[in-house]
Symmetry: C2
Subunit: 340 residues, 2 copies
């Protein structure tokens, strides 16, 4: 199993041309006579030649690499984002490298260092927390970085975020219209700006409608969150509606309600965050606030690309609007309050 890698030189010899010509055939940077190019391609194919990116980059200085670092690869929000970003990157001739910081700041630091060793041309990061890693501050001026979803309030970075407060307000307005006055917000981690904003949107809107909202913090893991929420419900008056501020807390909420055999929509109205197939795969499908993932991805890419090419300022996109999918999990508030 000899690792006999075929080099450009061997192809050049086989085709009877110079290495420069072979290079031009594959890079297309300089014109090569069609027949010659065809001939070279054939020989290369025969030998099983494949260009060596490492050598290519070393000489040209263009790695064409853009890492995408996310906090959790099992969270469909991030994988969707990655998939969309990849499509854009491919079209522009870039390769993305997917990395996972596993919701851990330490791992995140390690991943960033490792990723930088690829000599990437830019980077798209969803930080573990709003505390943007120091390394990124140091890189900031020399190196294009786009922050998505978190750390978006930090000065000096290009950022993509949704209008979280408005998303919360939208949800709350819908609940208020249906007569809900006591809303429970199931938050993952209030240290996250986005989570705080979503919650604020709910609180302000529901209070303006003469109601009140409370907040439980249950963490990012559905199973654990379900337990936390259960404890809260045991100790408090049952609200008529629940708003889960992330996809993971939506799962936590529904798990908890299911265990207690609450009937969603009837015993309690529920609004979830993000919109996935499983939310509609139930007798009472879940009303959901949907983040414009495609738009987030395309904005992030456009932003990064313009940073990678020019240096001049450009219009940063406004916070993107979320939309709401109204389904059967939100019903009029009736006699539900006080049943717990």
């Amino acid at each position: 199993m000899a690792k006999q890698r075929v080099s450009i030189k061997q192809v050049a010899d086989a085709a009877g041309v110079s290495t420069a010509t072979v290079s031009n055939v594959f890079s297309g940077k300089k014109p090569v006579k069609p027949e010659l190019a065809e001939h070279v391609r054939k020989e290369a194919e025969k030998l099983g030649y494949s260009i060596n990116r490492a050598a290519s980059f070393l000489r040209s200085g263009e790695s064409g690499i853009v890492p995408v670092l996310v906090p959790d690869l099992s969270d469909p929000f991030y994988t969707s984002l990655i998939t969309e970003i990849e499509s854009h990157a491919q079209l522009d001739g870039y390769e993305i490298i997917v990395a996972n910081s596993k919701d851990d700041a330490e791992t995140e630091r390690g991943r960033i260092s490792a990723l930088m060793s690829w000599q990437p041309e830019g980077m798209i990061v969803v930080p573990v927390s709003d505390d943007v890693p120091e390394q990124l501050f140091d890189l900031r001026d020399k190196f294009p970085i786009v922050l998505v979803d978190r750390g978006t309030e930090v000065e000096g970075f290009d950022t993509i975020r949704v209008d979280n407060a408005e998303a919360g307000a939208q949800a709350a307005a819908h609940l208020a219209e249906h007569g809900h006055r006591t809303v429970l917000i199931v938050a993952s981690d209030m240290r996250l700006h986005g989570v705080r904003e979503r919650s604020r949107g709910v609180v302000e809107t529901i209070e303006a409608a003469g109601g009140s909202a409370e907040i439980v913090e249950v963490g990012p893991v559905p199973k654990v969150g379900s337990v936390h929420l259960g404890r809260w419900l045991d100790a408090h008056q049952m609200p008529t509606a629940i708003f889960a501020v992330t996809d993971m807390t939506t799962l936590a909420t529904l798990t908890c309600l299911a265990e207690r055999q609450f009937e969603v929509g009837k015993d309690v109205s529920v609004i979830g965050f993000d919109d996935y197939p499983w939310m509609s795969a139930r007798r009472t499908p879940i009303t959901a606030i949907r983040q414009p993932i495609e738009k987030m991805a395309s904005s992030a890419w456009t932003m990064l690309k313009s940073r990678m090419s020019k240096d001049d300022e450009f219009a940063a996109p406004k916070p993107l609007k979320c939309t709401m999918e109204i389904r059967a999990s939100t019903q009029d508030a009736k006699l539900t309050a006080g049943m717990a």
Copy 2:
């Protein structure tokens, strides 16, 4: 925004040592006096130096790269697999590159070519179909490849798969015990060996119990699958139980049943495939066949690693066993038959 990359030479100059010493400090391949090493590290830090993988690989011939190519990044089965594989790879000092073939053979070919240009040391692939791409056949002898989940019947490759027939049999036995004699198998694509095997396991077992099973093919996309399944249900006698052979067809099945307001567990028993949080986040949680993802990942990695190091034969793992999580979606068959 000058792309002034810091090289080993600059660090060497700053620290007043040779490039060789700097190299040894970072690679650890040769001993360097602790104080000197510390000094070098400080200077490097000051300059913001980060090793250049491309150059390093070019010289050493060790890329340390292992691509993982999957057919769908929005399928949690694959992302879970990736996450697990990454953990193993990291421990052994390898970097994985995640690639997505988007369930398309053409894209798959393109991705494989692109991935090979990284000069990887091995590759883990979940092919789009059981027709393993030709490129892989050509590489097979020179280059370590592990096939997971699909294409596992092809001669000459190292493969990791679960015992699909047994998984189907397990599900069917459970249903048979509960008195079910008419089972509908919701398959994604019968051209896939794994899907056929799972179905075969069900058919054989249910027939041995004096019942019968039918198969609908609905494709890999939940929304589309739901429509196909609906059409089938309109045209046929309602079964007392449904077995969905993949996570995506589980979603299709539940979506369809929900739209028709069937009550899972009561109107019809359901067994799903793979086990995700949302399956338990419902009043009637779903009985599920769980693939041993962690084991699949670790076996795949072990296999690949031994191929990457030695050449000699080693014991290929036996097909891995799936387990069943019994939940409320499977109940005794009562008077459900014939209600459609």
